[in-house]
Amino acid sequence: MIGKEELEKAFDARFPETVRKKLQAARVAVAGLGGLGSNIAVMLTRCGVGHLFLVDFDVVDMTNLNRQAYRLPHLGRPKTEAIREILAEINPYVEVETLCVRVTGENAAELFGEFPIVCEAFDKPENKAMLISTILKSCPGTTVISGNGMAGYGEANGIRTARKLSRLYVCGDGVTEASPGVGLLAPRVAVCAGHQANQAVRLILGEE
């Protein structure tokens, strides 16, 4: 087994040491482990973010494989368990805390209030709005990075990151909804997840 220090040394040494240390000291929560959340978790793990808190109530389904980080052997298993396994195969030294629970307006503040950065990665717009409103209202130390509009196969360049409120960044094209006739596909979902993960990294490293 490769040791922690060895793996740390393999982090891109072209960056100054402070970059790696800041990422390693960071704590990021991800709400929802579908197409956005599973890919965000993988990217943040590759970046060496030291502590991840990952929440989802669901199990891996065959219809998830077209865009989510899971593989056939994960079918039927809780996403929290499957993602833990995937992340451990990338970097076993990232602290991964998971919770298999449904996020509601009642538990959201308690679950996420201690995290400086929360990536909103839900599927349903009502859940997105609920989580964002609850956190911005009740968790003054938390910034939310949301995914909004990444269905279909329109131009990838339509997906952007915008700071919509002082503690809210929204990534996506803002309009393309999963709906009858327009599904979700790996590329645009991954582009949006990449925007969210990159914004998390930027906040960790002190950029706006």
Partner: protein
Amino acid sequence: MRAVVTVNGEAVKAAGMTVLHYLEREGYDPGRVVVEHNFKILSRGDLDNTVLQENDQVEILCFVGGG
């Protein structure tokens, strides 16, 4: 004539209406929006209790499905 409120940076005639009434008038689904009113986030229950006043600043962010 209703007095002016700023919504998403644009002046609109909406003072005197509740936020919920304004959302419905403009065709927003109140379950899919995040609303900031004078730099404070409104909860779902606040939408019906908050009456827009002249010179209020409102941001309405609308969310779509997929993730």
